[in-house]
Symmetry: C2
Subunit: 219 residues, 2 copies
Amino acid sequence: MSKYSSSLRELALLGAIDDYISISSRELGDALEMSQQTASKKILELLEEKLITRDLGARKQRIKITSKGIEDMKKEYNQYRKIFEMTDIVTLHGSVSSGMGEGGYYICQNGYMKQFESELGFAPFQGTLNIQIDQEDVGRLDLIRSMEGHLIKGFSSNGRSFGNVIAYKAKIRNIDCAIVIPERSHYMDTVEVICQYHLRRTLSLEDGDRIELKAICSE
Amino acid sequence: MSKYSSSLRELALLGAIDDYISISSRELGDALEMSQQTASKKILELLEEKLITRDLGARKQRIKITSKGIEDMKKEYNQYRKIFEMTDIVTLHGSVSSGMGEGGYYICQNGYMKQFESELGFAPFQGTLNIQIDQEDVGRLDLIRSMEGHLIKGFSSNGRSFGNVIAYKAKIRNIDCAIVIPERSHYMDTVEVICQYHLRRTLSLEDGDRIELKAICSE
DNA sequence: ATTACTAGTAGACGAGTAA
DNA sequence: TTTACTCGTCTACTAGTAA
């Protein structure tokens, strides 16, 4: 089943779900980076499995995916849905930590701040909230990194270079904010959060307070 | 990329996105119907491609998918989304044809009608609207067949057997109805539509009138 | 142009087994 | 128990080529 799935998927993307499409074995091979011969064989295998039907005309073959083929793809699609559909909002748990460390200084540079305003739609307060993510949620940071964030370009200032950072829209207790993560970063268990307001004062937060941070997919 | 995707997907389904999971090569092999040796090799390949990270403890390995791995899966997921996301509602164009042919008689059997009521939530009018689907939309019938429909069980009556049919919720000009398709059917270009109301009268339809039918995914 | 055969080679797989 | 090596087999691929 899974052996032919990429060929079947390519045919689906080319429109072979709704109707017959004209496609030569060479074209399919080129699209999938395989030889004409292999593509031809894949087509024969898909036919064998009754995942597609074909009109083999004199000039060019016409291919359409059968309902069995559609069902096969749906199975795989539903697997991915299980994996990804619950990840539009990723919740991170952690505790407030000392807010003006190196990370905070870094992010509060004017070169970043101007971009935050245009990218996120709010002028951030000149300071960050530092949150130490619970050990069990640290893994979710990879999930956030895989989300569509807002690229904030790096710059140079006073002979020091500041790299790209990525801002991910988020909410803390329903207040809009953003998690800012350096584009190239290794292991981390703390994140910097920027917000229109002074979060620490607005929410009366002190070091060690437990907090829930919801990263929101921007797609 | 696609070569390892099923292993990666399986790991994701087992929770290796959020955090490290404990899984032996044998367990992974069993889940994917491959040998322990092959599963072990797949894991090494995934590591090589930096799609997963691993703690290789003394007893059992712990595996987590990296952000690169998540991105790889998202690419494939997004391909499927392109294929399927616009298919929650499938629109069929066609024209009204003579309504009380063999198909209509077949479907109006009491054995079916009672089930329609409990499955669809409305008591159908004792008659069907017959729609001949345009040639260019006939291919979409396969898409509908791949949707989750309501199975209506067959029965025997007067020595004649009536097979299973499947009802797919649909709308005609915003009126709830259902497309009824025999479970085992070959090529067709006409469908039977049932509805709470007498559609032909309610919508003042005559043979040959153009009509748009929207099948709705019940999932 | 096409599709798809045959033949030779590269790569994937599982059994046996070591650590 | 684990993981993962070697090795034989069998499948999958591409080049050449026929129709």
